[in-house]
């Protein structure tokens, strides 16, 4: 095998990061998606735009703003220092927060679309069957939006693994703490260590392919037969 112990620790850290970010994104993204899917509020468009922003912004821009915001003079940095947490850049927690922001649209959009596709009817039915709104959310809305959640989870996970610019900007490339696979690949390639770069990059390629395969398995292009 062509991978060094350093490469392996990088892979482990990346998987940990992606796993944690995915779980947190589903928890954070679901209420946002729910609100966006059902609100008539005038705030819907601005909030949608903010959530989608990371999709179109160059990651280095986002990363730079995060670096400034989380820095000792930035608003987030002042807050975290006041709370006694310290500064977030160069920490695993900082990486998690940055990744959550960066991958937010990839979690929110599929869930939002699933909630929108479901429509109001199933919730009305649940209400007429004595289910409180919260009850209906967990017993009807969540199960019906399952494909959306699977897509959201897979995309969040994969996107976090492939994330590069933001991590580069705020990670500091600390082995075992913030050195993730994509940065490691970049370093290998920059250092002209093409063989090691190939092994990691090839692995990432195969992984991404499998991920997309899973997504398409759960969300086939052809619309599912409506179960009425």
């Amino acid at each position: 095998m062509m991978l060094s112990p350093d490469d392996w620790s990088t892979i482990r850290l990346t998987l940990e990061l992606a796993g944690l970010v995915t779980v947190l994104l589903l928890l954070i993204g679901t209420p946002i998606a729910w609100w966006l899917a059902r609100t008539d509020s005038a705030l819907k468009r601005p909030i949608s735009a903010i959530v989608t922003l990371p999709m179109v912004l160059p990651p280095t821009v986002l990363g730079f703003y995060l670096l400034v915001a989380m820095g000792p003079q930035g608003p987030v940095g002042r807050l975290t220092q006041a709370l006694g947490i310290g500064l977030l850049p160069f920490t695993f927690a900082g990486l998690v927060i940055a990744s959550i922001l960066y991958s937010l649209p990839f979690a929110v959009q599929p869930i939002q679309q699933a909630f929108e596709a479901m429509g109001e009817r199933p919730l009305e039915v649940a209400a007429t069957l004595r289910a409180s709104p919260l009850d209906a959310f967990f017993t009807v809305a969540l199960p019906l939006a399952r494909p959306g959640f699977i897509t959201a989870a897979v995309m969040s996970f994969a996107h976090t693994i492939g994330e590069f610019g933001v991590v580069l900007m705020i990670g500091g490339n600390i082995p075992g703490k913030t050195r993730v696979v994509s940065v490691q690949i970049y370093d290998h390639v920059e250092a002209l260590e093409f063989t090691q770069g190939h092994w990691l990059a090839g692995g990432l390629l195969v992984f991404s392919f499998c991920v997309l395969l899973v997504v398409y398995h759960f969300n086939p292009m052809a619309p599912r037969k409506a179960a009425n």
Partner: protein, 362 residues
């Protein structure tokens, strides 16, 4: 016991023509009350208001003495003891038939559903063999039967049905209608039934509310409503009366059946309905003629004594509609104004009613 419903709402729609609902109804808390009218007349809106699915600010709703809505108070939908059957069955696709049935049953805490209740309702709607299936493997008619059972198992004090048959083809309708009749006859739950289909209303309703442009233009017992002369309500092609009757006898030689109603009997073609069965028959105004003396040597089999109750106008100036009381029942007869004049028809006059044709509603 009754249902009092007062609602007024306006949809301030810019896209579609503005719609306003404005009703004040007192409905019986028993039997099937049909909300009948053309599409866009506000039937479904009214039903959704009663369910609480449409949150109307100015509304007042009391069901069997229990207030569901008044100024400053709104009982959330899930706290209302109601059942709602939507036009499309709207079963939960992620649950089996059993799971769908259980969903409401386990949440209606106040009245525990006993397994016996459950079995009865499953049997009543003929869905026992479907319990383990997923909704996607059911036919349209089966789905709607499951949806009705699901609503019933939530132990409703009021069952709301929004055109439950409208999405079904003719065959499926024929499949479900008998279940709805059994429901009416065997369960003591009041039903509000939205429909624009005359045959369903004629067959199922006990009480009729006619909706037009967001208002209830008439409300009353079905038989009475159909024989009103000031406001001829047509269920289908022609004005006519409806009678609740029982199959009293068969004439096997002539393939005829006799149906007995409160104040008389009528013969009609035998459709194989067993003696003793309750049936509903319709007598159209155009099939009824009147005679001053008891007719002899007539081809018409059904001749009943009656008394002229009222005389009204018909659509064409040449015709007149006459309401005749036969015992407790009312029938409508259509005559030309010339023959009415020739007979000297007047209110209070007793005469003979000849019924040429009787239709069994099934």
């Amino acid at each position: 016991m009754s249902i009092e419903a007062r609602f007024s709402l306006t949809y301030p729609t810019s896209a579609s023509p503005a719609f306003a609902l404005d009703v004040d109804l007192q409905l019986p808390a028993q039997g099937i009350t049909a909300l009948f009218g053309p599409s866009g007349s506000g039937k479904t809106s009214l039903l959704r208001c009663i369910a609480g699915l449409e949150k109307v600010k100015t509304g007042h709703l009391v069901v069997n003495g229990e207030c569901w809505q008044k100024a400053g108070f709104f009982l959330p939908v899930h706290r209302r003891a109601l059942g709602y059957v939507f036009q499309e069955a709207s079963l939960f696709p992620h649950l089996t038939v059993q799971g769908n049935l259980d969903y409401g049953a386990i949440r209606s805490q106040r009245h525990q559903v006993t397994p016996v209740d459950q079995r009865n309702i499953v049997e009543l709607l003929g869905i026992g063999h479907l319990l383990l299936r997923k909704p996607e493997r059911l036919s349209g008619g089966e789905r709607q039967r499951v949806a009705i059972a699901r609503a019933l198992l939530a132990v409703p004090k009021l069952l709301l049905m929004d055109e439950p048959l409208a999405a079904l083809d003719f065959e499926r309708k024929r499949e479900i209608l008998p279940y709805l009749e059994r429901l009416r006859d065997e369960l003591a739950i009041p039903v509000l039934y939205v429909s624009h289909a005359p045959d369903e209303v004629a067959r199922l309703a006990d009480h009729l509310v006619v909706m037009k442009d967001g208002r209830a233009v008439a409300s009353g017992p079905l038989a009475e409503m159909l024989t009103r002369l000031d406001l001829p309500i047509r269920l289908g092609e022609d004005a006519g009366a409806i009678l609740d009757a029982t199959v009293g006898a068969m004439d096997a030689d002539w393939h005829l059946a006799r149906v007995d109603f409160a104040s008389g009997s009528l013969w009609l073609a035998d459709h194989g309905v067993a003696v003793g069965s309750p049936v509903r028959v319709r007598v159209l105004a155009r099939d009824v003629s009147l005679a001053r003396e008891q007719p002899g040597g007539s081809s018409i089999q059904n001749i009943l004594p009656g008394r002229v109750d009222a005389i009204g106008h018909d659509e064409h100036p040449s015709a007149t509609l006459v309401r005749v009381q036969v015992g407790q029942a009312m029938l409508l007869a259509r005559l030309t104004r010339r023959s009415a004049a020739a007979l000297g028809i007047a209110v209070g006059q007793t005469l003979w009613v000849q019924v040429k044709s009787v239709a069994l509603l099934e």
